[in-house]
Amino acid sequence: MKKLKTKSPSNRSKLGILLALFLLAALFFWRFSTYEGPVCEGDAKFTATLLEESKVYDNWQYFDIEGYNIKAPSELKISYGDKLQIAGEVKKGRLTDPEVKVVGGSKLHKILFLIRSNLKSRIFEYLSEPQASLLAGVTLGAKEDLPKDFYESLRKTGTVHVVVVSGYNISVVAGLMIGLSRFIRRQLAIVLALLAITFYTLLVGADPPAVRAAVMGSLAFTAVFLGRQRFSLYSLLLAAAIMSLVRPLVLADIGFQLSFLATAGIILFRERILNSLKFLPKAFNDDLSTTLAAQSLVVPVIFYHFGSVSAISPVANAIVLWTIPLATIAGFIFLAASYVIPFVATIISWVIWAILTFFVILVEASSKISFTQLTFTPKEILPLIIYYSLLGGLIIYFKYVRVVKTK
């Protein structure tokens, strides 16, 4: 990472920064101390908007809302974006057969949901499984349709992150708008880019990783607009701060933790790892160093939550990751074409199918290699602390050594 050039601030501005930090800390303290999370046991009554499709079986249907898992009779008709009033008894985080009343609905959510399902149905009409749901995951962050076995293979090989909307998707969406700046005023293009990022993030369901990427992307584009240098690590911290202020529960979200740490790892270590992997073929070392950098901070958290981690992940990622940016861009073009020129969409869908088939075959194959899972006792906090302090120590050591050398 480049060293940041900072002027030594005057005493007055130092005081200002101190005051700002104090106010910020107070704000956080207030937000967290007044926040109430979901009840784990006992009676619960709340009103919330349904933000997923209910899974309907013969007699029962299941859905998650506001941190609760609900089991309700399948006759109950509810749809995405409905505002539900729910009252019942919680047992181990689940409400069985509670009283559910539809008390309204969010137009915005319903429209977004319709657009999203329509886009998804295009993908499903042109492509077959598992390539179809993989493309839906890569372009729209839709994980709900992935075949169970295939999802398991993605998890085992440490490639499941490809179905999470991330910085790449956001940069493509914003890039499309910035590309327009040849034809319209640059400022307008940037405003359009910010709007596009917001729309896209809402469209994909505004999961914590997508919001993280969207906030960082927006900051980056605004920085360009204001003509300022952008500092990725600061924008990452700012994104995390904003998100946890708005919704404190996000800190407990696994997706948020992984996304935050992976991004931090890439910002901090990627360049350095790439420099020391220069002896490898170019097509390979790029994705390998990104993966290693991301994993350096993520691995302990995966251990903590799941108790196992994929040892083959860096290699698997290095081999298959090139397909994902290609599939994402081709996927966006395909979706647009499917509404205008179906014939062109068909041809593009074949190319996407081939790209993703490569991905699927290699992921399936590497998930079958048996010695690739490292297992560990989950939910142990001590190894986590040891790992990060060791890593921190190493970084300081290397910095010190470098400073000595350059002297």
Binding site: S128, I178, F358
Partner: protein, 288 residues
Amino acid sequence: MIKLVGSFLSSQNKFRAVFYSVIIGNILIWSFLFSLPDGNLHLKIYDVGQGDAIFLRTPGGYKVLIDGGPNNTILDYLGEELPFYSKKIDLLILTHPQSDHLTGLVEVVKRYQIDNLWISGTSNKTRLFSEWQELLQKRNIPTTVVKQRDLMVFPDKTQISVMWPKSALLVSDINAYSVVVLVSYGNFDALLTGDADKQVQPYTSDSGHVEVFKVPHHGSKNSVDLNYLQTISPDVSVISVGSKNSYGHPSPGVVNLLENLGSKVYRTDKNGTTEIVSDGKSWYTKTN
């Protein structure tokens, strides 16, 4: 965007672009070649858990799907079965509208082009069935309520004949109205029975020997009639059933009966997907 495409095509990345194109091209060409019909009939009784889903590929490459199973596993099987350039199913048969046969078909109908649909004409009061009905109307799928002696012959001489239901029959049980079809190609016959159990056997008065018998109703206690079984004397019997299902399917008595009559018994819960391949003269079974 333009930048992205530009950087992809820049001279520095030319090698990469060529490399990727070779991979993509190879995948497309080889999967096209492997998708061409091999001149044999393939009948696959899929492992879909507690339910039925059966796929038939005729020697000329026509595709028939019978039932969709209790979940969306069928989509993965169809993804492997059908080539990337075609999402066409020539004939879809829903034996009867219960969830263990119907569930997977909802997505199949949304995603695939269905040229013909055969149904038994019975209905069900479930939410799933009303969703299915709406979908058929919306997608405008050519639907026929079939009865005994209805027939479809493909240009490669594969014949699908309806053995059941008889036109006027009044029983309250949806299972008893299941569509039963006989698949014939040359000397090879396979009887696919849905859930039409013992109470409606024999299905026709002129039944004869079959090579393959899909045992009705997941091998339940009342699935087969002894006399009828002796008439058809199947070489292979396949039971489509989920492991540890709550119904106790298949009944050990039925499995014994089939084995005592000299039939080889395959179960999807133990053998997985069971495939029968035939050239019209001889045939063999394949399991994974």
